[in-house]
């Protein structure tokens, strides 16, 4: 029953000391300014393409980065808020992508409307998340990590082996472009054709809108009773259930919700890339998303968004600049990601843009320091013996 006590290395208890000038200026700017700046940069970036400053290839990198932003926002719910590790996260992405591919491609000659496909893809991934969490949430957290890993591999191997449904390693090709309003008519003319999404620029804004909406929704959720229940479970499960939180239900909600977000992202990914194959759903992809969350800061919504953009866009930049071959490049990229995870969890487990609660939790305590903090801050007042209650 020993209580775990943690504190940061003193920075957050004494915010004006030890921080760099940059940090001090950064903390003086209100939060909404950063949000606004982020949205303006993200929304303005394609204009550089329109005026011809950057190539369309960059726009494509942007679209994929934004899809990974969605993924890391989803994984963050499980990993950051609830403190459970999901190592097969990409499987839910695969569920969304394959559902979309089957419902909107020449494979079975089906062409459901865009909105229906994206909703069904999300739901399929959520059901998968529900089924996987049903038996495992009673177990210790690290078992969930291994079970989800096994689940991810089962899904991938099934995709490869279930040739009649998935075309196996060849994947499903020719996924139809989404149409926002015009349903399933085979050909569109005139004004209706405006609502076909098939250019990188259009995809970019479609995904960007989804990212912004999702970030707002998840920020609300984080600051609600549900978000607090997740954090409480992560902090001290016994105290949380004794405070009336139903642990299994709360954890299940977080697993299912994050699976749904992955399914949603998978659906967008399938539409965008036209072709999907099992290669996009390797274990390494799950690790990459984990790495994005760790780098950005577990539990921090702006953090994981930053992490996803940095880890998805930066390697492409470097690759373009170095002109390296794809296979070599992948090896070094993963090497750096692996090192990044280890270095981050040892030296800065709270990530680049930390969540305030996780930051405190991630650091180990030095009891003497804790005692000093306590005395310096409060015990002056504690000494006043005001008994007149």
């Amino acid at each position: 029953m020993a209580i775990r006590m943690k504190t940061s290395s003193g920075q957050d208890t004494a915010p004006t000391h030890g921080d760099t000038v940059v940090q001090r200026i950064a903390s003086a700017v209100p939060g909404w300014v950063w949000w606004l700046a982020g949205i303006v940069i993200a929304a303005g970036f394609p204009l550089l393409n329109v005026i011809g400053v950057v190539e369309t290839a960059w726009l494509r990198v942007g679209v994929v980065s934004l899809i990974f932003v969605l993924l890391s926002l989803g994984l963050n719910i499980v990993m950051g808020e609830t403190g459970l590790l999901n190592l097969g996260y990409i499987a839910f992405f695969a569920f969304g992508a394959y559902t979309t591919a089957l419902l909107s491609s020449p494979k079975f000659e089906i062409r459901w409307p865009f909105l229906a496909v994206i909703v069904v893809s999300t739901l399929v991934a959520m059901v998968a998340g529900f089924l996987i969490s049903l038996p495992t949430l009673r177990l210790r957290g690290d078992y969930l990590a291994i079970v989800t890993l096994a689940f991810g591999e089962i899904v991938r191997l099934t995709i490869i082996n279930l040739v009649p449904l998935t075309n196996g390693p060849n994947g499903i090709t020719g996924i139809y472009s989404p149409r926002l309003f015009a349903g399933a008519k085979p050909a569109l003319e005139g004004i209706e054709a405006w609502f076909i999404i098939d250019k990188p620029l259009e995809y970019y804004y479609l995904v960007l809108v989804c990212v912004v909406v999702l970030a707002v929704l998840l920020t609300n959720l984080k600051n609600s009773r549900i978000g607090r229940a997740w954090n409480a479970l992560r902090e001290d499960e016994l105290a949380a259930i004794s405070s009336g939180i139903t642990a299994v239900r709360a954890k299940m909600l977080s697993v299912v919700l994050s699976a749904g977000i992955a399914g949603f992202a998978g659906s967008l990914f399938a539409y965008y890339s036209n072709v999907i194959s099992p290669e996009s759903f390797l274990f390494m992809q799950s690790v990459i998303v984990v790495c994005m969350v760790v780098l950005g800061g577990m539990g921090s919504i702006p953090g994981v968004m930053l992490g996803a953009v940095v880890l998805q866009a930066l390697p492409q930049l470097i690759r373009e600049a170095a002109g390296a071959a794809r296979s070599d490049f992948e090896v070094y990229r993963m090497l750096i990601y692996g090192i990044l995870i280890v270095v981050m969890v040892i030296f800065r487990p709270e990530g680049l843009l930390p969540d305030k609660i996780f930051k405190r939790e991630a650091h180990e305590v030095d009891p003497r320091e804790l005692e000093m903090t306590r005395q310096s801050l409060f015990d002056l007042e504690e000494g006043e013996k005001d008994l007149g209650v």
Binding site: T7, L221, E235, S243, R360, L387, V389
Partner: protein
């Protein structure tokens, strides 16, 4: 009148050891009952049985006539029993206000989708929760005021952490409040203050069952005292009756000392 809490012949053993043996007692409305006893006499086990962390092997636990024995802890909390822990189990990295808000989880109901959209109903509920939290924290004057509510729980002084745990337990308006050694580790002035606060809680209508070692506090607040030893209730009555009971003296001081005082 029906008691708030009633234990009927509750037993619980770990392996061969009977931690609680045929324990029966009742707590009536708006009463403060203290359980005393040497270490290892089964007091905390009794608390764990009542709050649902353990399931009794036999016997029943009734809250206002309804059985809560063996219910999951979160369901016991829903029925109206909330507790504090001897070893302080706050959400150390969450701030003071958040700790109290978590305590309200079971009496609030905003669902995931409503929360995501921050519907007006959710906003109203959050506002009500905030006001309620201010009211509860206000019961500890000067301790949790203003900016201190945004301090993480681990940075509080020991006494304030104990107070915060009581505040968290109060957040759900419990029918019965279980306090596990509320003044453990406090200096006399602090424990006096907590004692006054416990008395004040009774005036507000709360029913309290507490475990306490500090006899000064037990004497000061208890309507009735229950003494336990080796999992068995050895005495029950007012503080004076129990304190002078030869069995109780024996349990604390040993047989010879008991004979000497007799």
């Amino acid at each position: 009148m029906e008691p708030v809490l009633e234990l009927q012949d509750v037993s619980m053993s770990f392996g061969g050891l009977k931690a609680v043996d045929s324990l029966s007692f009742a707590v009536r409305e708006n009463e403060i009952v203290s359980i005393i006893g040497p270490n290892g006499s089964g007091k905390t086990t009794t608390f764990n049985l009542i709050s649902g962390l353990y399931e009794p092997h036999s016997g029943d636990i009734l809250l206002k006539g309804e059985s809560v024995a063996g219910l999951r802890p979160d369901l016991v909390h829903d029925k109206g029993i909330s507790r504090t822990f001897q070893s302080l189990r706050l959400f150390s990295n969450m701030n003071v206000l958040e700790n109290v808000l978590v305590g309200m989880h079971s009496v609030t109901k905003a669902g995931p989708f409503a929360s995501m959209l921050r519907l007006p109903s959710v906003r109203r509920e959050e506002k009500a929760m905030y006001d309620k939290a201010q009211e509860i924290l206000g019961m500890f004057p000067g301790r949790f005021s203003g900016p201190r509510q945004l301090q993480p729980a681990y940075s509080l002084s020991y006494a304030n952490r104990r107070r915060l745990e009581i505040a968290r337990a109060l957040a759900s308006d419990p029918v019965l409040l279980l306090l596990d050694e509320p003044v453990a580790g406090m200096n006399p002035a602090e424990s006096h203050e907590v004692m006054e606060q416990i008395k004040m809680l009774r005036e507000k209508g709360y029913t309290i069952l507490m475990i306490e070692h500090d006899m000064h506090v037990v004497e000061g607040v208890s309507d009735r005292v229950i003494a336990m030893d080796h999992g068995v209730k050895i005495a029950e009555g007012t503080y004076d009756e129990v304190a002078n009971d030869p069995q109780v003296v024996e349990a604390y001081l040993g047989k010879r000392a008991a004979d000497a005082t007799a």
